[in-house]
Each structure stands twice: as structure tokens, then as C-alpha cells.
Symmetry: none
Subunit: 126 residues, 2 copies
DNA sequence: ATTCTTGCAAAGAGTTTGCATAATA
DNA sequence: TATTATGCAAACTCTTTGCAAGAAT
């Protein structure tokens, strides 16, 4: 990647932000410093910064909306054997309660993925 | 809500799916049974089913992509005001430890979204 | 009879891309 | 000089919406 002041600004803005800005929000910020920057440049840079692992997009929020039944989604994903382990409601409720107690936040649904190494893989069972 | 066979089919498809289908994927499925169904109808029904809490959308994946620095992967998302609240590492570590204790699962990374109603919205601050 | 839902097509919103120009290495 | 980035605008994708016709209560 060659240097550009546009990209530098964009990276700074994301790095100093706490609001998880959208591309447009970043665009509005950069424009204060580089008034004639184009929205296309902002999109291009946000994406190249993601590809180069300097920033990231939140969640699956790329692409299309995805729909699901109403049970909660809470699983462990083993990065080695790709098993998905479903977790139980007890643990889920416990986590939700922790959130409520700490943030006075009423959890309606969750989508939790813990990625790592499962018991079997850890023991070399592959 | 009045009955329609389109909506019934759509609900069935989502309820029997394990792939978190997109609207278009649902559309392709329904078409097998109701060949002349329109994509608009699928969107309308998916959304009304969500409003009536019969299914749900995953994550924040409504609206725009959001970008973030490379540190935390752990958020509360208020479905009312769309605020995204970052959670702290203490809580994260606590959750990871719970997983480890319960499943002998070594967490490497997580992507956790708790969706619900934040403190401010609950108090009607809009 | 009234109300809700549909199919269709057009409009919106968000994002990507082609191209000529400008900046970096 | 060769390569990469930019601004602009058009194109593209996903989603929503207005409308007249059809189905459900």
C-alpha cells in the first residue's frame, strides 16, 4: 500500500472512534480535514484497511440480512475440527444476567460465538 | 395478521433451516412450492414475522456496515437507538473462563453480540 | 364488505467500480 | 517512470414501497 493522506485520516478516525462508525460517518469526519474527498475513496480505504487487518467490520454485518428461528444462538466453534457445540440455556441466562447487572441492559437475543480449540482436539484426538 | 400460504411457507422454511438463510435464499426455497411468489412478498413477510417475534434477524446486520478498531469483539447493541456499547475485558475474560470451566474449551477469540434495550431507552430517554 | 396480502415494478439506500487524473515510490 | 490512489459518476445489489388486483375474515 502506498501512502495517502486520505487513508491516514480514515485510519485515524476509526482508531479514535468509539461509535463503530459507518462508512458515511467516517466520510463526514474526513471531510472536515479533506473537504473534497469522495465517498468512494472512503469505501475503498475502509475495505483495504480491513483486508490488511488494520481495522475490521463488525460481525456478519457485511452482505445480506440473515434470518433465523427464535431459539438463541450460542455456540462454541472449534477452529481445528470445525465442530459446533451448542451451549445450554443455563449458561446463556447466566451471561445475560451478568450483562443486566453490569449495564442495566435488557437482553432480548444474543448471537455468541466463542472460537477456539475443543476438548477433543486439545487431547490430540484430531 | 391474516393467514396467507406465502407467509406460512416462509415461516416453515426459516424454522426448518439451519443455515441462517438470506431473504433471497428463502425466496428460492418458497418458489419451489409457490412458483410465482415475488421477492417483495418474501421481504415483507420476513420483516413482519420479525416484528411479531416469530423469527429474528441475526446481529446488527441490518443497515450499514460498521467499522471498528482491531481490539474488542464484544458488544451490546440497542435495537431501539442503535447504539453499540463496548464491553470491557474483565467481563470478557470472565465469560471465557466460564466456557473453559464448563466445556474444557480453550477460547481463542469471540464475537459476541447481545441485542436488547439499553439503559437510556428503557428510561424513555429515546 | 372490509381489511390484509399479493405480484409487479419502480424507487431508495448502501456499496462497488471504470475511467481519466493526480500523487507516491 | 511505474505503480497505486483519487474524485467523480455510473452501475450494481439489497431492500422497501405504491398500487391495483386478489384472498381472507
Amino acid at each position: 500500500m502506498k501512502y495517502s493522506k486520505q487513508r491516514e485520516q480514515i485510519l485515524n478516525i476509526v482508531n479514535n472512534s468509539f461509535e463503530h462508525p459507518t462508512a458515511y460517518m467516517v466520510y463526514e469526519q474526513v471531510k472536515k480535514e479533506i473537504p473534497n474527498i469522495s465517498l468512494g475513496t472512503v469505501y475503498r480505504n475502509l475495505n483495504s484497511l480491513c483486508e490488511n487487518k488494520l481495522i475490521r467490520k463488525l460481525n456478519i454485518s457485511t452482505g445480506n440480512d440473515r434470518f433465523d428461528k427464535l431459539d438463541s444462538h450460542f455456540h462454541l466453534y472449534c477452529v481445528n475440527c470445525h465442530t459446533v457445540i451448542d451451549l445450554n440455556d443455563d449458561l446463556l441466562n447466566k451471561f445475560d444476567k451478568t450483562i443486566k447487572d453490569n449495564f442495566d441492559f435488557e437482553v432480548l437475543s444474543n448471537d455468541l460465538v466463542f472460537s477456539g480449540i475443543c476438548h477433543d482436539c486439545k487431547e490430540g484426538k484430531e
